[in-house]
Symmetry: C2
Subunit: 143 residues, 2 copies
Amino acid sequence: MNKLQNIENLTASERLIMCGIRPSVQRLAIMDYLMNNHNHPTVDVIYNQLLPSIPTLSRTTVYNTVEALVEHGAASALTIDSRNAHYDARLDPHSHFMCNRCGRIIDMPLHYDVMNDSPEPGSTVESVNIYYRGLCNNCNSRQ
Amino acid sequence: MNKLQNIENLTASERLIMCGIRPSVQRLAIMDYLMNNHNHPTVDVIYNQLLPSIPTLSRTTVYNTVEALVEHGAASALTIDSRNAHYDARLDPHSHFMCNRCGRIIDMPLHYDVMNDSPEPGSTVESVNIYYRGLCNNCNSRQ
DNA sequence: TTCATTTTTAAAATCGTTACAAAATTATAA
DNA sequence: TTATAATTTTGTAACGATTTTAAAAATGAA
């Protein structure tokens, strides 16, 4: 629902409520993790990171929650990695780079006005993703 | 290997050879299908389309072949669809739109000089994909 | 032809994700 | 509060795309 201007400054709880998602212990933990770790985690990473603090957590809950977050505009799903989905709580326009060697995903600034493009008259663009691939600095310097 | 200028004008056989892939009946059929059908097919679509003419064809062969095509630069893989990979034999710079309702993938012109962007000093960009998502004209007009 | 190499094939295994139903939790209303 | 309904979480099973594996078939070289 990303309507208000500074949704980026809200707490996890506030963002959930603003997006129409009822907060629960699990949803708060997942939203909070995503907002404080801009590492574009997979479901499995989120699950394993939160397991110590929520020992009863189920993988299904993580799947359900990230699906709800994306559906309600509280986060977005990246398809840059064909193996599995990555999730991102940054809501401002930006793009992504994935290193072909180490798999790390790096945020990049977005220089283009991509939202105004359209494939054919009568179509409507709802979202745009720019995915760069290559070798990151680390992997490049290790020859 | 996409080095020569008009690789787009070559036959399937010529493109395979130029990319260092030994032509076989199956590889030729797959390369030819991709070059003549710009519908961004999945492995399953390719498999089912070619099965009538190559009744012994195996899905594994299609997987192996598209992997080789991508690896050697004779085609590219699209990760726009989280369900499964789509393949594209168009080698000139362009971007893609996927309709959220019907799933159709439409080619779009590329207006930006994305290959010159870089995530961090010392990194190298090997490929860029721009993925638009929304509703196509067809699906929009059906309310 | 014979032998080595490459390619194809089919079946099984893997793995991310989804479906499902029961258990637990939370909200509502008497 | 207590009873009841609705929502959420959980664990297991199912699913489906992809990968692995090993054997069979095809190809190339000598």
